[in-house]
Amino acid sequence: MVTKTEETQLNRLENQVDNGGGGAWEYLCLVKKLKVRRPDKVLRHGLSILNDPKKRSALGPDGRLEGILLEAKGLWAEAEKAYSSLLEDNPLDPVLHKRRVAIAKAQGNFPTAIEWLNKFMADHDAWRELAEIYVSLQMYKQAAFCYEELILSQPTVPLYHLAYADVLYTLGGVENILLAKKYYASAIDLTGGKNTKALFGICLCSSAIAQLTKGRNKEDKESPELQSLAAAALEKDYKQRAPAKLLLLTSALKSLKTS
């Protein structure tokens, strides 16, 4: 939130800079700090700083700012060129890689984004982004692979278990759904039984498995207790948080069990 003093300071600086006085740098810093949206002014003054060679050297050895400004203007090609040239000097810089991928994504160029993300695999955010892109393109097997990598590197984050289970369920097939059930269970384990999505996931998995194995001989390895436990936990949760919807929940769960 912007306080009164900060706002007056911002306005004063804005007037000063607009009228050709100095202080553009302070203005930009303040805008960034307050996260105020003033894209045209930032662009104008930012570019004026960058174009002034004296001040540019004071900015620092890399031209990341220039790349970001080009991006904000929408000049994707130039921004991409800037980042690529910077990347030649610093091939391991995660920020630059991410900006390049963001450009590709913003242009709708998913194959390029995927290719670039695949080159740069050292970062959790990168894996997550890649998994999301795959899901949106319905390439679930590849998305599952990304989530597996994430779980390997950070096994105690329930979010990844949950997302992996979701993708497995979407892929379908008895083995995948069995595996998904295990990962929903581990997500519940990691969150102490409070994750509603995981609880629902277990109910869905159990009913899907029951449907898929209807014809075969039932080797009841997975006990039905898990589903009833999950259902009971959901009902308790709803009673506490949304008692009006409890009836809805019970009828939905019933239809899952019987379908």
Partner: protein
């Protein structure tokens, strides 16, 4: 095949627009609920809508659970799922992607006059500044003519596509 009209109620429309505006940087979707008008077989009344997701639209479990619960809830009011709403992540993207098509097709199986609404982001941006109230619309499928009743806001930003099975 005849002509079909869709009546989109203000409630349904506002909910979807607000949902899209709230999650400006993500793709969002939702379901449309309604019924065939009891007076006229060729009119589908879209009485309400339920915004669904703003992330991971392509994942099945959430969709299944939400559809089950939505159907249960609205069947008590005599309404069924009659359509699907989608807004793309990118500003200039006016294509209906495969996820939306799959969901639309699936709904069509149960309700043949299913409608799929795609939000035109450019017109959504212009909405707060626009002052004209005449419904200017892009209709991009044959057999569909949209009649909108009871509106306080310009509806110029809906592009409507419809799927037959």
């Amino acid at each position: 095949m005849g002509e079909l009209k869709y009546e989109l109620s203000q409630n349904a429309y506002i909910k979807l627009v607000l949902h899209a505006r709230k999650h400006k940087t993500a793709a969002v979707n939702g379901v449309l609920l309604g019924r065939v008008s009891p007076q006229n077989d060729a009119v589908v009344e879209i009485a309400d809508s339920v915004p669904l997701f703003h992330s991971h639209l392509g994942l099945l479990p959430n969709l299944e659970i939400s559809l089950i619960m939505i159907e249960e809830h609205y069947s008590a009011q005599g309404l069924g799922i009659v359509g699907y709403f989608h807004a793309n992540e990118r500003f200039d993207d006016l294509e209906l992607d495969s996820i939306a098509k799959n969901i639309g097709n699936h709904i069509c199986r149960y309700f043949p006059q299913c409608a799929v609404l795609l939000l035109d982001n450019k017109k959504l941006e212009a909405l707060p500044k626009g002052k004209d109230r005449s419904p200017v619309m892009q209709v991009s499928a044959v057999f569909v003519c949209i009649e909108l009743s009871n509106y306080g806001v310009s509806v110029s930003f809906l592009a409507i596509k419809r799927f037959w099975l």
